[in-house]
């Protein structure tokens, strides 16, 4: 029966080519526009650590005094050195990593190349297993290396390609600022998006949030070693009470600039850690170091949501695309209505010959679905063009933009779904055609 309806639908589409082309075009353009933006949204709002993000948390405490500029709705998005290090060294979580970014001058003594200015991530050894960071050569430094303030580093595959032509560079040395540092590990290509562990500060508006889709740092060093190696080059998120006495040296400055990430594998541990955090804040208040005892601990996805990592342009484009799809939908309902009711005579005959309302309805819907399918193919091609345009825009995420299988499926589901919705009302109208009236006018 379905095959017969399909044949009828094809016949009917051929009969009025102009109307068919108009409908298919409208669906294709609507689907193309909305799928382009939806694919970008899908990419930008994705889970950077699938399956694991629910166990990753971002604890916050509030070290600011009353007279700072920050309105105390939530604690600041980063921590001061002492709080972060206190919480980290308590080792109350399954894994914990301190995170700080800084610009640093890097050269390789064995390679004849001018020095590079790169971004270094100062972190602790748990960072790599906690965030499933893949290694090409070597491995992360050990906790002992971190404690001994060893001059070791892990480098990105990009930097390894640049300096060592992609060969195994473990054991080679790097000149990081004025220190010689031994490479212990080289990462495999790693491109988490969004760059979740750096996601801080977008609410201040100082940093455009496209910054969360750039590449990870090129050099990773043990936290405390890097404090010595790159002393004087650290940047505060914000300060109060006059700021640091020595710019770039923030260990004892009234500034927030360190982030702490923890992994908590069970709900009990999460509750325990929250209690630990509250305790810590209260204890610090008793000691006179804190004025406020608010704490907060969001999980990774909540944190990304709070930080609004998705660029507002992209959100706006998505809304626009769907408003556009709605217009296409209205357009299609109107045209389908015209198309079906034009065949009232034919439908009247079919009904008189014994076709049930249901079968007329099914036949009309089949036709709408077919238009959706053809429109979907057009929409898919237009989406590919749209994504090509996005890639040409040179946004930090443009190299990530592509259509995956799920988005391919969504394209067709959306196209056919929209057409079926658009077809439902006209099909219902068509199935209600009074046969007697139509037969009389024949």
């Amino acid at each position: 029966m379905f095959a017969y309806y399909l044949e009828l639908a094809l016949r009917s589409l051929k009969r009025n080519k102009l109307l068919t082309v108009l409908m298919v075009l409208a669906i294709a353009i609507g689907i193309g526009a909305s799928m382009t933006t939806l694919t970008v949204m899908h990419l930008l709002s994705g889970d950077p650590l699938p399956g694991k993000s629910a166990h990753i948390y971002y604890p916050q405490v509030d070290p600011t005094p009353n007279n700072s500029n920050w309105q105390h709705k939530y604690p600041l998005p980063m921590m001061d050195y002492r709080s972060a290090v206190d919480l980290w060294s308590a080792h109350r979580a399954d894994r914990q990593a301190l995170v700080v970014q800084s610009p640093v001058k890097v050269s390789a003594p064995e390679v004849n190349r001018p020095p590079l200015m790169l971004t270094m991530l100062s972190t602790t050894s748990d960072f790599f297993p906690m965030f499933d960071v893949p290694f090409e050569y070597g491995a992360a430094w050990t906790p002992a290396d971190g404690k001994d303030r060893a001059h070791v580093a892990v480098i990105s595959s990009d930097l390894n390609d640049k300096l060592f032509g992609g060969k195994d560079s473990v054991g080679k040395s790097l000149r990081i600022r004025n220190s010689d540092v031994r490479i212990v590990g080289v990462l495999a290509p790693w491109r988490p998006h969004p760059l979740f562990y750096d996601a801080e500060g977008s609410i201040t508006g100082n940093m455009s949030s496209t910054g969360y889709y750039g590449k990870p740092e090129d050099v990773f060093m043990p936290f405390f070693s890097s404090m010595e190696v790159n002393d004087g080059n650290f940047f505060q998120y914000t300060c109060w009470g006059g700021g640091p006495t020595v710019p770039g040296h923030l260990e004892n400055a009234p500034c927030v600039w360190v982030a702490l990430w923890v992994q908590l594998d069970s709900a009990t541990k999460v509750a325990d850690y929250r209690a630990f955090l509250t305790n810590y804040a209260q204890q610090q208040k008793v000691l006179g170091r804190f004025t406020h005892t608010e704490t907060r601990m969001l999980d990774l996805m909540q944190w990304l949501d709070y930080e609004q990592v998705i660029p507002s342009n992209v959100k706006l484009q998505t809304w626009l695309a769907f408003a556009f799809l709605a217009i296409c939908l209205f357009n299609m309902v109107g045209l389908l209505l015209a198309k079906f009711l034009r065949r009232s005579g034919e439908i009247g005959v079919r009904r008189a010959l014994g076709a049930s309302r249901r079968s007329v309805f099914a036949q009309c819907l089949t036709e709408a679905g077919l238009i959706g399918l053809i429109g979907g193919i057009g929409g898919w091609l237009l989406t590919l063009v749209g994504l090509w345009l996005v890639r040409r825009q040179q946004t930090p995420y443009s190299d990530l933009v592509h259509m995956d299988v799920s988005m391919f499926v969504v394209t067709f589901v959306l196209a056919v779904g929209v057409s079926l919705i658009a077809g439902a009302l006209p099909a219902l109208r068509a199935s209600r055609v009074a046969p007697a009236l139509q037969l009389k006018t024949l």
Binding site: N206, T210, F324
Partner: protein, 404 residues
């Protein structure tokens, strides 16, 4: 033209009429808001930076030893100044559209935080090189330029120039000359007002205006090192910048050239507004597609109605209606439907604008956008209906005699 029969005919096709009107309503709402967004982006892109953009460029170097700052400045000034075509080289902390140099919260009474402003530190001569217009007070004298001591970010007590926009914000209606303000431990006294100088990353954020900047006369050295303002004739500037970038390797082998930021101001400006430009382009694309789809809908439905009413048209023609009458009938019908859609569309446009204001920091839609959108849709409707209406007008009266 009688509207009554048209309305009666439309009543028979309530659903189709309603649908096409709703499509026009949505189109009207999206059109007004999209045009407004484009206008917003374009006006942001036409931001007046206050400096002689066409003649300016900057060279940024990093990674040098801070102890060598004075020595580096001397080498860079000499090295860059020797490039043919360079009119002047000055040490500056940043330039508009360059990397952010220094923003800080300021206070007028040392108690209440007022707003965040950008501090530009510049060596003697910078003011003139930038091409800033001093509209009140005076340019800094030689002894207004002070060195930065120890680990400070700027001179502890400076005599500064502020933009007229900032003056209006801090002391509305008052003479800002001689007034004082603070940022943490640093004290500032206003000695002059410049017409305009935008922040290095001039984005509107909250109630902060992009033109709220402070120029702090500073002697080079300490933190004021590594960024150099180059002035050259616009015709040779690009060439000068190529040579300047190349010169860094020879003049300052101990420093690393910042390839990202060492460009002409025009280039940096282009880059800064790239997202706005591509968004505006995208919006234009959406508007075109939107109008096209709406026109398709009108053409499709009007064609259907024309073919459905062929017989009636024939009868009217046979009864003496002229071609112009038939043409006008369909045009009036379209006008009525579009008008109905527009009425709903205006309400929707204002609603969408309110939502955008809430979620995307978009200003209020000026009301004059609405009549413009209305006229555009009326014209679109009339154009779209023209082809089917002409076909209707071409129906010969003899049709009426057939198959009756």
């Amino acid at each position: 033209m009688q509207i009554q029969p048209i309305l009666a005919a439309l009543k028979k096709h309530k659903l189709a009429t309603f649908l096409i009107a709703m499509e026009i309503a949505l189109a009207c709402a999206v059109l007004c808001n999209a045009c407004f967004l484009i206008a917003n982006r374009l006006s942001a892109m036409h931001l007046n930076s206050g400096v002689d953009e066409a003649s300016l460029g900057e060279i940024v170097v990093t990674g040098f030893d801070p102890k060598q700052a004075t020595d580096l400045n001397a080498r860079m000034l000499a090295g860059l100044g020797a490039i043919p075509g360079v009119e002047s080289v000055h040490v500056i902390s940043s330039i508009p559209f360059g990397p952010p140099a220094g923003t800080a919260g300021i206070t007028l009474d040392r108690k209440h935080y007022n707003t965040v402003v950008e501090f530009y530190l510049g060596a003697p001569g910078t003011l003139k090189a930038l091409g800033l217009k001093v509209v009140a007070g005076h340019v800094p004298a030689v002894d207004d330029y002070q060195p930065v001591e120890g680990h400070d970010y700027m001179p502890l007590s400076s005599r500064v120039l502020i933009t007229s926009g900032l003056a209006e914000r801090l002391w509305p209606g008052e003479n800002p000359l001689g007034k004082e303000f603070w940022a943490a431990k640093y004290q500032f006294r206003v000695i002059g007002v410049v017409a305009n100088l935008v922040m290095s990353q001039p984005q509107k954020f909250g109630n902060r205006e992009p033109g709220w900047s402070v120029f702090v006369p500073t002697l080079p050295g300490g933190p004021l090192a590594g960024t150099y303002l180059i002035r050259a004739k616009p015709q040779v500037l690009n060439h000068v910048m190529v040579e300047a970038r190349a010169a860094v390797a020879k003049v300052a082998p101990d420093a690393v050239l910042d390839h990202e930021d060492s460009h002409t101001v025009s280039f940096l400006r282009e880059r800064f507004f790239k997202a706005d430009r591509s968004m505006a382009g995208l919006l234009v694309g959406v508007i075109v597609a939107l109008l096209a789809v709406t026109a398709f809908g009108i053409v499709g439905l009007a064609s259907f109605w024309v073919s459905q009413r062929t017989k009636q048209i024939g009868i009217r023609r046979a009864l003496g209606a002229t071609r112009a009458d038939i043409l006008r009938y369909f045009q009036t019908e379209n006008f009525l439907i579009v008008t109905f859609g527009i009425v709903v569309g205006i309400v929707l446009a204002i609603g969408i604008n309110l939502a955008l204001m809430k979620f995307f920091e978009v200003p209020r839609l000026p009301l004059w956008y609405l009549p413009v959108g209305v006229v555009a849709l009326w014209l679109l409707g009339q154009l779209a209906v023209l082809v089917p209406a002409l076909r209707a007008a071409a129906v010969p009266p003899v049709v009426a005699t057939r198959s009756v």
